[in-house]
Amino acid sequence: MQAQSVSGESTTDSMVISARLIPVLSPTLKPFVLFTSVSLSYDMVDMVSTVDPRFEAYRIMNEVSGRRVVNVEMEPAEPPLDRLEPLVTVTVDADAREALEMYVKAAQEVCGKGFILDVAWTGKTDVSTEEFIRYVARAHTRMGIPPVILDVDQ
């Protein structure tokens, strides 16, 4: 089976295999809708674990976005974010404002799941810097990320 990814690459057999795993992990998802148009850059073997942050981030953002997730990437967080790692970036097929609204909605569900959610978008950046900060601040609050770590006596 072959399909075209968002980056123009052809999908491979590994994606077909991973798509077959998805119903086991989450019967509510439609795997072929996801993977026929998605280029995933991570090792699919890890997807077998139901606690994999990438899969959980995908599930949450896919629900919120109406199945518009096009990529999921995970990286270890650097200090001081390593207290809350890892950082999972989900790219959605939307402009910035819409993606950030999805991000705020998804953030509440991410709290306590053991990873930090970030969002990227494929469309235009249609928010000002101030608006961007406001959206991100709301999402951080909902995820329970402390803005700063202060000493107890402050």
Partner: protein, 140 residues
């Protein structure tokens, strides 16, 4: 004689402890649910919390939220001064925290003592927020 609390006023140290808590927001929410309701916070307290949190970030303390914001801002490609970034970030975080926890804000009388956020003297949380918005829009 029994003493019945009609609500809980959150002071600055409590606000800061809850917002800057490393525990999950749900744990904080549980604490808030168990404490006597309604919960009140004064504008003065919010201004003071804003000042302390701002000072903490600017003094180089470990700041997971702010560092993540800086990382994420690469996507919009434009930056503000650190003061504006910190101010916008923290005011929105305080506003969101108030909203999701159902806390009532009291417009109390403002203490004459000086509070500062960066180089700015702060009278109330809302006044400085509105003033900055007006300044950005060229209205001030």
């Amino acid at each position: 004689m029994s003493l019945v609390a009609s609500g809980l006023y959150l002071d600055t140290s409590v606000v800061i402890s809850l917002i800057a808590s490393e525990s999950c927001h749900r744990d904080v929410k549980k604490f808030m649910e168990e404490a006597p309701k309604p919960h009140y916070v004064s504008t003065w307290t919010l201004a003071e919390a804003l000042g302390v949190l701002s000072k903490g970030i600017k003094s180089g303390k470990s700041a997971p939220g702010y560092q993540l914001l800086r990382k994420q801002m690469v996507r919009v490609g434009s930056y503000l001064s650190q003061s504006e970034e910190v101010f916008n970030y923290l005011t929105e975080r305080l506003s969101e925290w108030i909203a999701i926890n159902g806390i009532e804000v009291c417009d109390d009388l403002v203490n004459n003592a000086e509070l500062k956020v960066g180089s700015r003297s702060v009278k109330t949380f809302w006044v400085i927020r509105n003033a900055c918005r007006s300044w950005r829009l060229g209205l001030a």
